[in-house]
């Protein structure tokens, strides 16, 4: 077992003919992801890389029984694409796109919840069940099959940490990018529940950053509900108040969302926090 996706997960790509969508769909195929179809309005009937059928609409892919979708369309069209996936009954929706208005994200997330779908992102690098399924843009080469699950709000920083784990001779089970926006579909608690259940995961790494209070909430949750070892890294210690540090969600507002507050909360929950990203492996067993 792994979390959310595995070797049986059938994936479609919404926006498969776009610049980003086509490059990353190609990488996902190389990784071994089962991409059963792609969509691109107006390009229906063609084939992606001579093998993946392309349709105009998600409803036309239903006979292929997709479990998950990766949305890689421009920000103004993300809400429509996500609602299309929800209406089609797709259970896992990963939104890669950055700069989605958060009012759209609220609507997407709440509608998905009502219809029994799970949203990950927006503005995340994807989800990888190592050796089984990759949805998103994480580099294929940094992973090694192992027992460590990672959940993070950023992209490149996650690769840095995953790479450090791999280079230290350990490996990963599931790596999840939650997304760098103020409103994302899954928070730490949602993925912690899955990691706790997953028999392939022994230890958990949380990568947090300034903004909001989801790390603090996760820390309190871990104390009472997570039996597996959890370690963390928090970025933004040196960030000034009131500045958006690249991610829409990475901002200290009126004293809320500081790195100190998150580090303290993890400390109180018995979660060791690394000073530098490369220190993470030394905190693991």
């Amino acid at each position: 077992m792994s979390s959310f996706v595995d070797e049986k997960t059938k994936v479609i790509v919404q926006g498969i003919t776009g610049h980003q969508g086509s490059f990353h769909a190609g990488e996902m195929l190389k990784f071994g992801t089962k991409i059963v179809a792609g969509t691109s309005p107006g390009k229906g009937g063609s084939k992606f890389m001579d093998k993946v059928p392309v349709f105009d609409n998600v409803s036309e892919t239903i006979h292929l029984k997709p479990d998950a979708t990766m949305i890689s369309v421009a920000a103004p069209y993300v809400k429509d694409a996500a609602l299309e996936a929800i209406y089609s009954g797709i259970k896992i929706i990963y939104i890669l796109t950055e700069h989605v208005p958060f009012h759209d994200s609220m609507e997407i997330v709440h509608n998905a919840r009502r219809m029994g779908s799970i949203v990950l992102g927006p503005n995340g690098p994807g989800i990888t069940a190592v050796g089984k399924c990759k949805i998103g843009i994480m580099p294929n080469k940094i992973f090694k099959k192992g027992k460590i699950a990672v959940a993070s709000r950023s992209g490149t920083l996650t690769y840095e940490i995953v790479n450090a784990i791999t280079e230290a001779g350990m490996g990963e089970s599931t790596v999840i990018g939650l997304g760098g926006d103020p409103v994302v579909g899954m928070n730490y608690i949602d993925v912690l529940k899955e990691f706790e259940k997953d028999d392939e995961t022994e230890e958990i790494v949380l990568v947090g950053e300034i903004g909001g209070s989801n790390e603090e909430i996760a820390a309190r949750y871990i104390k009472d509900n997570v039996s597996k070892k959890v370690v963390a890294y928090i970025t933004g210690r040196s960030a000034p108040q009131g500045k958006r540090m690249g991610h829409a969600g990475a901002i200290i507002e009126k004293g809320v969302g500081t790195a100190e507050s998150k580090i303290k909360a993890f400390g109180e929950a018995g979660v060791k926090v690394a000073e530098y990203p490369v220190d993470i492996p030394s905190l693991l067993e």
Binding site: F102, H110, S154, T156, L157, M245
Partner: protein
């Protein structure tokens, strides 16, 4: 809203008839605390206040306009807002009968908080709950309901992060008046709000210039220029520098790019900030290390960079990238920590 008018010079000030408040028109919160608001009970006070405020500086912003407004007979100050609650991914309504101060300074139990389901939306019962919580009279309550309904409408229609009235004043005549208000629009929604001509007042001219060129760029106070890829890694780079007693001059996130020109042009903005040394920290994925290296060599030539550049390249095409750099006489490290130590040594603290 109270009666009032805006002036840009002393000649535009009308004859004094009743006590007024003079408010600096700047796009910053907390202007009262910064001395941007004055009260006038006489004609002499009014002229003195206007001439003192016009042309004055409040946290880097020059006051070019002031609003002269009737002084309200304040009986009570309320607070009401609609904002985003990140954890529930929902709008929340906040209200309190202890307005006039920053909401964060009040104890949680004195604030009415209602989470709104964004699909179900607002309904007037929420106002009734708030009215009961604050103990407002039926007459004031009726006005409050109209105001809250409108606030929620604005929050939704204009893609707001925050709509806030503080204080919402109950006057001696039993009227509710919005004495001050603040609205923050989600910058990611601007594509569908052509009605707003947005310039973020909190950004410096160099930040605006770099943002216009497509870079996520923030000016800081130190002396080490920073270029990295990905917001998280860029922040982590600043943190690591700071922990090593180095002081970053800026935040610049290249984003995911495989374009030499985007890499080279990034140096233009870092150089304008005049750093003592420059650190480039790249974990290659979509952004390939050889592309970055070529961009750095190009920038060094184009901008005749005199400062020392320290580079960390790891990930896709790292060996090729480091070779390109060493051939051009630029230091490149495979690990982040070595590069951090080296650049801090060169910059020698602040």
């Amino acid at each position: 809203m109270p009666d009032g008018y805006v002036v840009e010079n002393l000649n535009e000030v009308k004859a004094f008839t009743k006590p007024v408040v003079i408010k600096s028109q700047i796009l910053l919160g907390g202007r009262g605390k910064s001395g941007g608001i004055k009260f006038a009970k006489t004609e002499a006070d009014l002229k003195k206040g206007v001439s003192e405020l016009l042309g004055s500086k409040i946290r880097d912003y020059t006051v070019s306009k002031v609003l002269i407004e009737e002084m309200i007979d304040i009986q009570k100050e309320l607070y009401v807002s609609v904002t985003l609650d990140r954890t529930s991914r929902s709008p929340i309504i906040m209200a309190t009968s202890q307005g006039g101060v920053e909401i964060e300074t009040l104890p949680r139990e004195n604030i009415f908080i209602k989470t709104v389901d964004p699909i179900l939306g607002y309904s007037d019962f929420m106002a009734r709950e708030a009215i009961k919580f604050m103990g407002l009279s039926p007459e004031i309550g009726k006005q409050f309901t109209g105001i809250l309904r409108k606030l929620y409408e604005i929050f939704e229609e204009k893609d707001c992060e925050l709509v806030e009235i503080n204080p919402l004043v109950i006057t001696g005549e039993g009227k509710l008046i919005a004495a001050d208000a603040k609205v923050i629009i989600d910058s990611d929604s601007i594509f569908r709000h052509k009605e707003f001509n947005v310039v973020d007042p909190e950004k410096t001219p160099l930040e605006l210039e770099a943002n216009a060129a497509g870079y996520s760029f923030i000016e800081l106070n130190g002396n080490i220029g920073v270029i990295a890829n990905g917001a998280g890694l860029t922040m982590a780079t600043l943190d690591a520098l700071t922990l090593h007693k180095g002081y970053p001059r800026n935040f610049l996130d290249l984003g995911g790019t495989d374009n030499v020109e985007i890499v080279a042009k990034a140096f233009e903005f870092v150089l304008k900030a005049n750093p003592k040394a420059i650190l480039v920290n790249i974990f290659g994925g979509v952004t390939k290390c050889d592309t970055v290296a070529t961009g750095i060599v190009e920038a060094k030539k184009r901008y005749k960079i005199a400062q020392q550049i320290v580079v960390r390249l790891s990930g896709v095409k790292e060996d090729e990238g480091r070779k390109i750099l060493s051939d051009a006489g630029i230091e490149a490290f495979p690990g982040m920590m070595k590069a951090i130590e080296r650049v801090v040594k060169i910059a020698g603290g602040n």
